[in-house]
């Protein structure tokens, strides 16, 4: 959870003179203004009055037909009646919470989890239990033991929240085996899974994996969005869920905002009518793949050997882990003096973990700024690694370790022994 001091710190990352690798913004600069104008003309010409009017809560049928196409492209076949149009993918998280949660209910999420989901979970007073991840995504064996443990204390999660593809913020993708395991666990224990899949189509390498929903449509609530394949400005996402849940979500949505923007829905429908929607996604893939590669190269060049990071096959984020003695919230304060920003890892946990981790976004700024931003962050990380080394007498990894410490007096030897004990992490905010 974020402390108010951290919120204030994050506000500074939005300053104009800061290279922000903190946001999660898609690049909207290459969408042709002419196409935008033409689409809006079409909307005005064909549907002016209706676009300016309220629409059905569940969304316009013509937009839902577009959603069916997008889901088909990811290997899922659904009917328009099974789709609920929402105001961004974020609203799906909110509506699922609204529909399922009572204060104190358990929600299972990954550790780290999508930082934007945490305030939603917290506002419904959920008790969030986070399951660690490795390069294959959520550790399902830990999930099972956690579920057993919860069951012994008479608690049953209302749902399991996961981002299987190109995880935000962790940058990893859940393996096929884990996906099968997860839906098996969900089925056996009759637990709902909220599959959040905003980035599935943004794959830069490797073969697509089946979504959880395509493996099991009985216990999986599926969420996605137009934000990453077209525009976050249209604020349109959707949910597909087992019908009793979908109906409740629809009632919840009615209470929240009656309906999502009709103008946006007509705009997106017109966009799908105007030509193959996949072309723009392909153009984004090119841009993002290059930016990801530039960031990976820059990390290898500028970050010290003590740091590690993920190699995402898609999506928008890289997750980097610093040595345990670096607190990335403090590091951000230092980085802001160099006019560069990232998201400190604590923002992705509810329990104070993540103190040495950071999320780096590669979609929001161009290649030169990514290089320069990573160079600056690398510099402040090296500075802190060097300082820690000076304080403890332990050489940074990049240097050749001295075989014997004859240069050090006995007093410092003693000091080194004490000071190299693993620093206890403080729980905060």
């Amino acid at each position: 959870m974020r402390s108010s001091a951290m919120r204030d710190l994050m506000a500074l990352t939005e300053r104009d003179d800061v290279i922000s690798l903190a946001g999660g913004l898609p690049d909207t600069s290459t969408f042709p203004p002419d196409s935008y104008a033409a689409l809006m003309r079409t909307v005005a010409g064909d549907s002016c009055a209706r676009a300016l009017q309220y629409g059905p809560t569940e969304g316009l049928t013509r937009l839902k037909a577009c959603i069916v196409k997008v889901m088909h492209a990811e290997g899922m076949d659904v009917d328009v009646d099974e789709v609920l149009v929402t105001t961004g993918g974020q609203q799906v998280i909110d509506l699922v919470c609204k529909t399922l949660l009572d204060p104190g209910d358990v929600v299972v999420a990954e550790a780290p989890t999508y930082p934007g989901a945490i305030p939603t979970f917290c506002s419904y007073q959920a008790d969030v239990v986070q399951i660690t991840m490795d390069r294959d995504g959520m550790r399902v064996e830990e999930l099972e033991s956690t579920l057993d443990q919860l069951e012994r204390s008479g608690r049953r999660p209302k749902f399991i929240y996961t981002v299987p593809n190109f995880h935000n913020p962790a940058g990893v993708t859940m393996s096929l085996e884990r996906r099968r395991e997860l839906v098996r666990i969900a089925g056996e224990r009759e637990l709902l899974v909220l599959e959040d899949n905003p980035y599935g189509l943004l794959r830069y390498e490797g073969e697509p994996l089946p979504t959880l929903y395509s493996l099991d449509d009985e216990f999986v609530i599926y969420a996605s969005t137009f934000s990453k394949i077209l525009s976050p400005g249209v604020r349109l996402g959707w949910a597909v869920a087992p019908s009793p849940i979908l109906q409740k979500m629809q009632i919840g949505k009615q209470g929240s905002d009656l309906c999502s923007s009709s103008i946006s829905q007509y705009f997106v429908s017109a966009y799908f009518d105007a030509g193959p929607w996949e072309d723009y996604v392909r153009s984004l893939l090119e841009i993002y793949r290059r930016r990801r590669d530039v960031m990976l190269d820059s990390l290898a060049e500028h970050f010290p050997r003590e740091a590690e990071w993920t190699h995402p096959q898609g999506g928008l984020f890289i997750w980097a882990t610093m040595p345990p003695y670096i607190d990335t919230t403090d590091l951000l304060a230092r980085a802001l003096r160099e006019h560069v920003a990232f998201v400190p890892g604590r923002a992705a946990y509810v329990d104070g973990r993540g103190a040495s981790e950071m999320r780096l976004n590669f979609s929001g700024v161009d290649e030169d700024l990514i290089r320069e931003g990573i160079r600056r962050i690398g510099e402040v990380v090296r500075e802190q690694v060097g300082m820690y080394s000076t304080l403890t007498g332990v050489a940074p990894r990049a240097e050749t370790p001295r075989a014997d410490n004859t240069a050090q007096g006995p007093e410092q030897d003693e000091l080194a022994k004490i000071l190299t004990l693993p620093a206890k992490r403080k729980r905060a905010g």
Binding site: S4, L9, Y325, A333, A423
Partner: protein, 313 residues
């Protein structure tokens, strides 16, 4: 009625708090009938002040630049009268090391401490002095940047193994850091306001953590995790002593207009220790000084009017 420039925001880590303080001050000034010229402090500060020529500047900045004498120096140069403490008081108060030295020299109690800067670490082998420091201060030790107003960068080291990481964190905020003896006890804030040219202490605010986790320093700054009691429930003698000590510190540093002095009341001995002086404490709805003023029957508008009235006195 005067033309009052309200300086707020800036580039410090406390920018957001300052924007809230500034907005509240603006509202009060308008209600008092003044012409308000809000300025989000940035590279065009001097140009803006030159253009709008205010009669007086209300400095509602916190942290770097605004509270450390930098902006005050510019206002002096431009001949614009301003609220609160002057340049030298701000320099002394914003730097905890300078302030604590001044207190120690004058015999005002402040927790034992040692400070060093990056140069001492890099060029003089200060790391090798850590065991001696730890021996004298005893654990737990509080590690702080010398100049950083909020809770950011403040760490507790419980063992020698915690110290290097705590120092690295503190050095993220400043080139100078201090290691301070931890005083276990009650946290008291004494707000001070000039009244007709002489400072008075307002009712004392006590910060009471909801959970007794004294290591979790950030808790102080999170709504719902700290409860503020005003006036603090203290024996008259203790309250009197705390107010006296705070006023002595205020005068020692040469503060003016208003300020907030933070103290610890030691649990075991009832001794008071001054932690720091904030020359421009928060002025938001939830800030401590406005609460203290309220408890003394001084509304926020009246507080703002008095601070303005004390300018140039």
């Amino acid at each position: 009625m005067s033309r009052v420039a309200v300086l707020k925001g800036g580039r410090s880590l406390e920018r957001q708090v300052s924007l809230r303080s500034g907005a509240r001050v603006q509202d009060a000034l308008e209600r008092l009938g003044h012409e308000v010229l809000p300025i989000d402090v940035g590279p065009d500060l001097v140009a803006q002040l030159t253009t709008c020529r205010p009669d007086v500047a209300f400095v509602a900045l916190h942290g770097r630049d605004g509270e450390d004498g930098t902006v005050q120096e510019l206002l002096e140069v431009m001949g614009i009268p301003y609220t609160g403490s002057g340049v030298s008081a701000c320099i002394r108060a914003a730097d905890k090391v300078l302030a604590k030295h001044a207190m120690r020299d004058r015999g005002i109690p402040t927790p034992d401490f040692y400070a060093f800067n990056e140069t001492a670490l890099e060029a003089l082998g200060a790391a090798q002095a850590l065991p001696a420091i730890e021996e004298r201060l005893q654990f737990p030790i509080v590690v702080k940047p010398a100049r950083q107003g909020s809770a950011l960068g403040i760490k507790f080291a419980r063992t020698p193994g915690d110290v290097p990481a705590a120092l690295v964190a503190a050095f993220s905020y400043d080139r100078k850091v201090l290691l301070e003896r931890y005083v276990r006890g009650r946290e008291l804030a004494v707000s001070i306001l000039d009244e007709h040219g002489s400072p008075i202490a307002l009712p004392i605010v006590e910060a009471v953590p909801e959970q007794e986790d004294f290591y979790d320093f950030e808790a102080r700054y999170e709504i719902g995790r700290t409860r503020f009691v005003c006036p603090a429930e203290l024996d008259d003698e203790v309250a009197e002593r705390a107010s006296r000590t705070a006023l002595d510190t205020y005068e020692l540093l040469g503060c003016a207009g208003f300020a907030r002095v933070d103290l610890m009341l030691a649990r075991d001995s009832d001794a008071l220790y001054v932690l720091e002086v904030n020359p421009i404490p928060g002025l938001t709805e939830t800030s401590l000084l406005p609460q203290a003023a309220e408890a003394a029957g001084i509304s926020f508008d009246e507080f703002v009017a008095r601070v303005l009235g004390a300018v140039g006195r």
